[in-house]
Amino acid sequence: MASFGSKVFLLLGRTNVSGVGYRKTGNRATYATALTVNSSSTNKARGGKGSTGRRPKRGTGEPRTEKMALDQDWTSVYPAATPFRANAVPLPLRMGYPVKRGIPPEKKGNLELIKIPNFLHLTPAAIRKHCEALKPFCTEWPSALDTDAKCDELFPVKIQSTDYVSAGPSIRNPSARVVHMKVKLSSLNLDDHARKKMLKLVGDRYCKDSDILTIKTESCPLRQQNYDYAMYLLTVLYHESWKIEPWEAEKTRADMEEYSWEDSTSQKNILDTLLRINATGEGEEAEVREQLLGREEVLEYKDSVETLKNEEPSESNMLRYKEAVRKVLKVWQ
C-alpha cells in the first residue's frame, strides 16, 4: 500500500516537471540568450535618457583586416596558438553546412571556426623564427658517433621510457613509470656456460634473431626506482650466470638447449645397423665402431640429423637427410 501511494506521488511529480521544465531546460542547456537583440533600439532609448552625463556610444570600427598591409608580418598577428578571430584573419572563409539553396555561413560570428584547432601560428615563416631562436641552445651531435655500430659498441645498454602529455591540471601519469632496458648479449662478457645459464634465467625476454635482452620494469611507482631495479637485475643476472652451482652437474640430456649427436640414440642406432649390415665380425666391437664413426657418410648423416633437430624443418634439410641416409645405408636409386 505504502509503495503504491508513493509511486503515485512520484508520477504526479514527474508530469509536473516535464510539462513546465522543458522550456526552462531548453533555455539553460543552450546558455545563449533566446531573445532577439535589437541593439539599435535599446541604445537610442538609453541615449535619450542619460544623454546629459553619458558620452555618445562609439560605433564599432572597421575590422582589423581592412587595415592589414599585404606584406605585413603575420607572425606578429598570430604569435601563439589562439582561437580563430574573424576580424584578424583576412581570408574570406566560410564554414558550415549550407542552408537549402544557400551557401555556408560566413566567418563573422561563426562558432565552428572557433571550435576547431587552427594552425595560423605555424606558418613556415613562424617556424623558421622558432628554429632560429632555438639554435643557440642546441649542441652538435658528437662527431665520433657517426655510425650505429659505434653507438652500440660504446653505449651497449639502452634505456627507453615514455613521457605523457595531456590536457589537464595534473602532469602525473601512472604509465610514465615503465622502463625498458635493452642490451645485446654479445656485448656482455659471457662464456659458453654463462651464456646458456643466462638464457635459461631470462627465458622469454631474450630475442634470438636480434640477440637483444629486454627487461621491462614497472613494479615500482617511480621511473627512477624502476631504472635502478633494471640495472640491479642486469648485474645480478650477469654474476649469477658466471657462478657454477654444485647441482648444475646433474644436467641431463633433456635440459640441453641444443641437440648433440654424440652419445645419442641416433648414433647408437646407426652404428648398430651398420654393424649388422657388415657382419664380418673382425676385430673388437669398439674398434669397429671407432672406424665407422670416422667414415664420411656417417659424418654427413650426423650433420644432417643435427641440423634437422636444431633448426626448423625445411625442404632442404629434409632432402639433405634423405641423401645422407641413402649414402650411409648404400641404397642407391
Binding site: 505504502a2 508513493s6 514527474r14 516537471v17 545563449a32 537583440v37 541593439s39 595531456s166 590536457a167 604509465s175
Partner: protein, 171 residues
C-alpha cells in the same frame, strides 16, 4: 513479478484517488528515486515553428549532427583511450558554462567553447555589444582571475563581440 503487481495496483489506485481526491499520506516507504525525464529525442532540439524565430548554427543543427556537420564545444585529451580525468574535466566544463552565462548575463551570442592546451584553459565566447567595453574588460579580468584561482591553472578568456547574433535560419 512484484513490478507487474504494483503496476496494476497503482492503476486502480490512481483511478480511485482521482475520483475520491484522497489526500496523500506520508508512509514509511522505500521507493526508487527518479530524476526529471529527459528524452533523448527532445534534447537540444528546437522544434519548427512559425518561421519568425531566428536560430544560430549551433541551435539549428541537432545533436545527431555532431561529428557530421557540427564540431565539439569542448575538447580535451581525457576522452582519448587510456587517459584519466574525463569526469573531472566534464564537471569543470559544466561549471564554466554556468559561470559564463551568469557573469555575462544576456550578452552571450552563442555557446561557450572550451579548449584545453596542456595546463591552460581557454574559454572562447561570442558576445553581443550590450555593455561598454570597460565593463567587458572588468568582467573578463574578474572571470579569468576567479577561475584561475578556482581551478589552479591559467585560464584565458577569448571574447569576440558582435553587433547582433549570427542567424543561420529562421524557424
Amino acid at each position: 513479478m512484484a513490478a507487474s503487481l504494483s503496476f496494476t495496483g497503482s492503476a486502480r489506485l490512481l483511478t480511485a484517488l482521482a475520483r475520491s481526491s484522497a489526500l496523500y499520506n506520508s508512509f514509511e516507504s522505500r521507493s526508487f528515486h527518479a530524476t526529471a525525464v529527459c528524452c533523448k529525442n527532445r534534447a537540444a532540439r528546437i522544434r519548427i515553428g512559425k518561421g519568425d524565430k531566428p536560430l544560430t548554427y549551433e541551435q539549428a543543427l541537432h545533436p545527431h549532427q555532431i561529428a557530421h556537420r557540427k564540431g565539439w564545444l569542448s575538447q580535451h585529451a581525457s576522452n582519448l583511450k587510456g587517459e584519466q580525468g574525463a569526469a573531472e574535466r566534464t564537471v569543470e566544463d559544466v561549471f564554466i558554462r554556468r559561470f559564463m552565462f551568469g557573469t555575462f548575463h544576456g550578452c552571450l551570442a552563442n555557446e561557450v567553447v572550451i579548449k584545453r592546451r596542456g595546463n591552460v584553459l581557454v574559454v572562447c565566447a561570442l558576445m553581443l555589444q550590450k555593455m561598454p567595453p570597460q565593463k567587458f574588460y572588468f568582467f573578463i579580468g574578474y572571470s579569468e582571475s576567479l577561475l584561475s584561482h578556482f581551478y589552479k591553472c591559467p585560464v584565458k578568456l577569448e571574447i569576440q563581440t558582435l553587433q547582433e547574433k549570427a542567424v543561420y535560419k529562421y524557424v
